[in-house]
Symmetry: D2
Subunit: 296 residues, 4 copies
């Protein structure tokens, strides 16, 4: 059994603490929200850990993570280890690792997948960093990952940054898969040739080529709301989808499906599209085509 500091007890961090404790590990959590925190400050959390320490960061990517890493650099000691399990951009990892290395503190980046289901099912983990650090944190990873062969729910993807890189690509793929099901669903709904769309989708869960965990979730959603009309077709995107497309551009890799999925989300959030106003204006100019006037 190991001892772990855990910074950030939101939806993900809170559940991870549960899973880790259920596996018998000792977790000292810190969160700004005192209702969930096991410690009064980062400093207090660190002081409750006996060295060499392992601290897992599970706070929002970007400035919050950067801030936490900086503070931990002050508080931790040579030989300690920090793991960033948030959705950081892979380019941040080198900066974090360098900062901590200047204090003799090790660094791993760990992409974590599985959402709210991870508490019970385990989390898919992709880790970047030195093999010796990975080895040292393995009891933590083993507690967090799903049952079954380790290599089916955990990978050591490469050196620092590779874990978040793998997670970024994972999320890009996730966008594409979700959009593929979504387009199929809309087509089934629109064509009205299939009478019972939810039954068809439920019937895809076994034996078919498209069976997947996301399909199971779609079936759950349709069980609760067969036409999915309790919610709006308004979809946020996280950094990872955007970074995946950036990486496609940087590496000259065609990514038509991943970009289409991202753009569909952008479109879903537009009340009115400037681009389509331009197309309407052009049609109007050359064809005298009827256009919808704003406010009409």
């Amino acid at each position: 059994m190991v001892q772990l500091g855990l910074v950030g007890l939101g939806k993900m961090g809170f559940n991870m603490r549960e899973r880790l404790r259920a596996a018998g590990h000792e977790v000292v959590g810190y969160d700004r929200n005192p209702d969930v925190s096991d410690s009064t400050s980062l400093e207090d959390m660190v002081s409750q850990l006996s060295g060499p320490r392992i601290v897992w960061i599970m706070v929002p990517a970007g400035e919050p993570t950067r801030q936490t890493v900086t503070e931990l650099g002050q508080l931790l000691s040579e030989g300690d280890l920090v793991i960033d399990g948030g959705n950081s951009k892979f380019t941040d990892d080198k900066l974090n690792a360098d900062l901590l290395a200047s204090h003799g503190v090790g660094y791993l980046d760990c992409g974590v997948s599985g959402g709210v289901w991870g508490k019970d099912n385990g989390y898919g983990l992709m880790v970047g960093g030195a093999a010796s650090d990975v080895q040292r944190a393995m009891p933590i990873f083993d507690a967090l990952r799903p049952e079954g062969p380790r290599e089916e729910g955990f990978s050591h993807a490469g050196s620092v940054g590779a874990g978040h890189y793998a997670k970024m690509i994972h999320n890009g793929i996730e966008y594409g898969i979700m959009q593929a099901y979504a387009e199929g669903f809309e087509l089934l709904e629109a064509a009205k040739i299939v009478d019972d769309v939810p039954a068809v989708i439920k019937g895809w869960q076994r034996g078919t080529v498209v069976r997947s965990w996301l399909l199971d979730l779609l079936v759950r959603a349709l069980d609760e709301d067969p036409e999915l009309d309790d919610l709006e077709g308004y979809v946020e995107d996280s950094g990872e989808g955007r970074w995946t497309l950036e990486e496609a551009v940087n590496n000259a890799v065609p990514a038509p499906v991943l970009s289409a999925a991202l753009f569909a989300r952008f479109s879903s959030r537009q009340k009115d599209s400037a681009a389509m106003r331009a197309v309407a204006a052009l049609r109007n100019q050359f064809g005298g085509h009827a256009v919808k006037k704003a406010g009409s």
Copy 2:
């Protein structure tokens, strides 16, 4: 000077009659609307023409055109010639030609481009059919096409159907070009780095690689409405865009730009997208992500 029957005096047909008459040709028009018609019926129109007759059809594609061809088959005589100048699907042309051939009547299909500007600028023409029929109708084509070398505003594209095929592809390209400008416009608007977006677009009219007639029209539209916010981003599509994509599929030709332009129009007409509701539902299922409830 030649004599022509012209069926359909809507926005296009009406203007074409003007242009033909301005060139000195005799046009007997027929339209169901007596205010614009020169004849009381198709039969009356035909009776006012001396053989061998040429009749130009300018009515909506599909059933209306088919109906007109069928009636003309009854009314015309061996050696007469029918030209379909509407936006018919190229597969209709063979049917029309065969039907008329059974009466000894010739057939040409003619794609007509240029919109409301054609009356003054001339129309771009793409013709399918027998060379002898094309030759016979050339005075008409010469009056309708723009000034300048014939081969820059007119083509004999091939046998029956080839004219409408060329026009279909023309329109597919048109969708793509319009969407390219539109995406650029939206980006300029969104990024707010360029202060005067209409001025930049106006400044693209000369010397640049993207100068075009459609750009000139966009400049006109922006002159009238600098943010294009007098109209909605709601865009219809005509058959040709869809048929172009069908043809891409039939010929295994990748058409990512042309399809993206068509899909952008489909999206522009959706108040809410079933596909994006499915994506939102999936995100909700796995991540407990906040979603917009319908009606909220």
Copy 3:
């Protein structure tokens, strides 16, 4: 236990016969290949069945299926039932059903998914047709579908044609999902930030959001050939992907992901692209950009 005629003993039909027999059903197969056939002709097959008969067709879509239906119409009797389990276009089903109905023979269309794995895992089934016919054939469906709750591997999608419609959409989605993984794989390979790409993908099998049966197959493929360089990036497409896009167009449903996946396959089969020669020619014209000369 029921008795079934099975026409077509290729890769799919052969395996289905195995699975049906393993479940205790009696199958009289017919195939043009005498090595696998249980009968010498369609007529012989029909004569070996006692009425009321059920005959399952598992031959290529289009003409071969149409031909088989026509012959069965001659051979079968009132009260018999035909099931088309091939990859027919949903619009063929109405024709087939009408033809058989004129002989008093019933008709079901059944989309079958699962590939070569279906023999052992069971096949995902989507059925169109009358409820009474579905009920009658249920022992067959139950034998073919996977273990587990019937509604998770089988659906009665609607009236005639709905089964193949559901299968068509299934395949469109399948294209999109495969392409999503494929783009992610290429990005991982190209960026060279992840050291062990197969290990990362293997590690996605449990706990992650992207886990699926197709992912399991990708892991299998990478186990056999870690860089997938024993084969060419040349991918065929079947009718269903194309028909899905046709349906998207017909129903004005945006399908950017499904179309991108189809177009990627088209592109994969082109040695040289006429479109890209045109782009190269344009760049050459305006910029004097260096271009690759053919054969250089």
Copy 4:
């Protein structure tokens, strides 16, 4: 008449010097290639100019431009003005402007469009920077831009960076338009319904909605090589296309056409696609589909 230093006498800079001199301006050019240079060094060039000086940079974007700006900062004096006419990323402009401002030297960024045709036709110009600097350089801009109303070939797009931003979007649009024509061309070639594809495209030059300068160039290319088979469908991309897509992502603007055009170029340069090998591998796994073995 004004005096101008011009750094970089490649394809673009050389032609611009010609056009400026033809307009009566005095140009002192510098290029590392002594065959075309009017001066032996940047220092020599600067020394030949009487203050307050204007120096136009026309060297490759990125490091070469940055280096030139840095050296000019050393050589120029308070009140001088530098114009970067290259294809720099808009984010470089602020850095360049700040560096020069520390020496009291002004800065304008100018996007230049028109390719090799600019020498005779004039160049489309988009400028970013202070109005007073723009005013001061106007004689240069007027000499470089096309005949006709200034606002149709020149724009002051906004503050520093806006000129290159406008040029970046211009190029993104250019990619989309070129791809639209290219897909149409390939479809016409593939379908073989139009007999004379070059004649049809030539016939689009007048009257049609798709007429443009790029279309005129396509006609020129087809005049020289009717099937465009003297060159390969291998197309480079410049930074601007990539940056446009980056900006679309950064601003959450859907850009399906511009991204499709960029990805088509990426694909055109791949001998074999890792993504499509993955799709082939998946098909092979589930369906036992025939795949092309590498080297076969």
